[in-house]
Symmetry: D2
Subunit: 301 residues, 4 copies
């Protein structure tokens, strides 16, 4: 359970006082506000704030004085049109702010998405908690035999046990030394900004992360994808659910035109047309590399 | 008066239905929501939405579970510290969305601030209104005699009258031709995306503009400055007031450490120390250019 | 002809002095350096500088000490892999700097691509030239009957003549008044920053524009597209040719996986699978909107 | 010594073949190209490529057809003017590409500067080397007694020895286990993307980092500052030297108007004027906080 009683009390206090507002308001996401959704062994994601709703996307697209379009159906149709034709700026008019607790090696992938605002807990200034990500047995995967950047089956038996033991004991020992190094009890105490260097990448950090909906969708397309590392995908998958409760039309359009869509190269389109005309297309006559042809076949199920 | 009765009715409708929310809420800015503040002859600025408050800046700086700091005084102290020491990321945690109506030549300056989200009214798709910026007599300024990029006194007498007459009649004639060119009454009708090219840069456009507080302060520092062109400065000055009602601690810190602050070069600091030590510093012994020395003297009042 | 003899002499001078460098160098783009390629009636695009080559993309992808991969074939294969799998950061390691002269209404579309560096000729500081875009007869298109944001046939006969006459005379009159307003001959002279507001959007401006290859490809995908306005498309098409001479492998991959590619929605992929299984898919049983089904049929040729 | 013979041979090969180019070329930075400048115990910075020179800043500011201004003196004057008046876009017209090897905890600070292009060595795909940052004795600093985010004196005696021993042995043990976990010798072998989580933050990583001169100056102002952590400052200080050899006028202006400059708040300017008028300004009558007054006194030397 990732929250202390004090933290839970602070969250409860924030949820206790609804205020009247004239802003676009979405009950579906209000229900999530401030609550921590647990992820991995010590992580979470919390919605801290949001700006805009489905209607706000239409309102900006039309630069209107009032709400988006005349009707909810029109809003949905316009949003789907905008998504399909890559009109991205109206989606930038919605904004989401999250509080995320996550292992450092996940944070290092996440931060590559540059078009977002970030405030991370400072290990120069503060002391990190003794919390490390230790994978569940079925997430303790072997290196993929066919893909340098992928995972295979879960480790088995003694090997799995040995790996888990190392991950745990190395983390604990590193933290013990971290704590002893910064201690000022009878000694000078190493600077925090130096002592943190002894901590492994599975220690948890946390940050406030704020992003507009267009850039969030870009993040989700890459990170809620089967090629993304499992440990970041659990965060992306959870955020997908939150977004679906916040801007349901935009999220559905995202599912249809991005998440569930495929992009076919010029060569693939050419092959497809030949196939629909009755021709048999093979690896030999397709003018694609072996790998591309395999990807093409996979697209066609 | 820039709003039609239909537009005003849409705004009134948006202001008529407060909703409960758990988000950070600021009565001072709620009072402005959706209302159009008139600027120049046909322009306006309207607050459409906001995210965050002074406390949200502290909450992000501390990556906290509840509100910012324990007390309002602590919030103000922390905000001033962050501003003074250029810790900009916590200010990025607040976001403002505006609807702005402004002349095209002002829009062209404004858009250079790239770190913002924009949806502009499309003259490819829609028909522009017959509204042009015609300066008030005291804003009809002569070219500065000393600064290539500045203004001098207001034009006088016949010259002023002649200029105003040209601005008005050229605008009207251009718009007449624009309207006749796109008309499909008894003719094909020129494409809107082409016809717009006949319209001068004082025609009004409008956009939704969304920006975080850090980048908004950067915009305001440059555009609420005496060197900025008057016609953009009136927008910046008005936005300053809105921001002061939204995040009063942050705005006060911005006034003290940015708007009202001066930056002194290494040479200026050196001269200053010499002056405080009783030495007389002159243009000859200051090791600055003539122009810099003039700027230095101005800083010292 | 867009260049004065003095401008041509400056360009010739820049091309007269090759210097030795150890940087990645591409003869194909060196041949274009500084030369103005004429576009529209008074516009041009000039390559001012470039950084990197195809090999530099691989070098960055591999974070290598020497060149990219061991062989040219490997470079091409890696580049195609990176493009296909949306690994965009290695393409950001190449940079192009252009000098572009273009009508203001084109510049206003162009500037929406925010991830680029821009220095525009200042009409606050300097005086604009008397140069306006007047379309060729076959570019004088009517509004599309089926697409609010598109063009139809060219205007014919008297209507075409009338439009051209207005565009020309309105431009000339506006410029005459501009020139007279800023004149300081026997009068105060209106400030340049104000006088420019009388000039229509077909006047030419110019800027230095610098962008990395990833963001340039994004610009080209949207602007070298049949849905882009013709007047910006001629610039994008020309830049495509320059890029093909600069980074031929990357450009070919861009053609295959972006320009010539199609993105199919989840529904389209589903229909496609049904079609390949022999089922007849119609507008009635496809679970797409009318418009989407039309787009789908177009993809399949 | 951070380079293997193979790496050195690759660098030598890149330096062996000068090519003719028509681009702006700077001998001062050509001399550095590809060479690794050692930093900390295993790190380095290498210049991989550059675009532009001092003259290119002026060329863009003036949107000129040829070089920048007529003379070298004019170039310097214009550059100093642009820097002093915060005209930042011309500086964006120069670009620098570096290859940097640095400890992960330094990389985590560095990456917060978002307006840059980055390709980092992938520990999902590749195996990290056994190289860790172990501070020199005089860099093994105690926590500051007065500043939560700072360092005090170097640790002494047994405490220093104990800390060094822990840093070394924890790093070695973590790496041993990392190597054993990914080994496929008689076992499945843990996925690389998981095994890396056992490695502490003082392990070295490397990346290609490309940035424009304006954003580089912003980075240097914050990181070549006495408040920056020592381990990132050594990189910033070294990059300062490289930039001085590349764009000497711009670098001098940066030193005078940014690095060596001070920003005084409205209150400080007020106090200064009172002091220059002969008044004695004290902590009691200055209307600043204790801390600000201390900062003010420090500015005045």
């Amino acid at each position: 359970m990732p929250l202390s009683p004090e933290q839970q009390a602070e969250i409860d206090a924030l949820r206790a006082e609804p205020m009247p507002t004239l802003r676009a308001t979405v009950p579906g996401i209000e229900a999530h506000l401030y609550k921590a959704v647990p992820l991995l062994d010590h992580g979470f994601v919390r919605v801290i704030d949001y700006m805009g709703d489905d209607s706000a996307i239409c309102q900006a697209a039309r630069v209107s004085y009032g709400k988006g379009t005349k009707s909810v159906q029109n809003d949905e149709g316009l949003i789907r049109y905008l998504m399909r034709h890559w009109h991205s700026t109206p989606f930038e008019m919605c904004e989401l702010k999250l509080h995320v607790k996550l292992p450092v090696f996940v944070a290092r992938q996440w931060i590559r998405h540059r078009t977002a605002n970030v405030n991370e807990y400072s290990a120069r200034y503060s002391i990190l908690d003794r919390e490390f990500y230790i994978p569940e047995p079925d997430a303790l995967a072997a290196q993929s035999a066919i893909n340098n950047q992928g995972r295979g089956e879960a480790l088995q038996g003694e090997e799995a046990a040995r790996v888990l033991e190392w991950l745990k004991t190395d983390a604990m020992r590193s933290y013990d030394h971290y704590a002893e190094m910064i201690s000022q009890d009878g000694q000078q105490g190493l600077a925090r900004e130096l002592a943190r260097m002894n901590l492994p990448a599975n220690i948890y950090t946390q940050w406030y992360w704020k992003v507009d909906l267009h850039n969030l969708f870009h993040f989700l397309r890459l990170r809620a994808d089967s090629h993304a590392q499992y440990e970041i995908r659990v965060y992306a998958d959870e955020i997908c659910k939150l977004v679906a409760d916040w801007v349901p039309f935009a999220y559905k359009a995202f599912e249809d035109y991005r998440l569930g869509a495929v992009t076919m190269s010029a060569q693939m389109v050419d092959c497809l047309r030949r196939m629909l005309a009755g021709e048999e297309v093979t690896e030999e006559n397709c003018e694609m590399s072996k790998r591309e042809f395999r990807e093409f076949k996979a697209m066609l199920g």
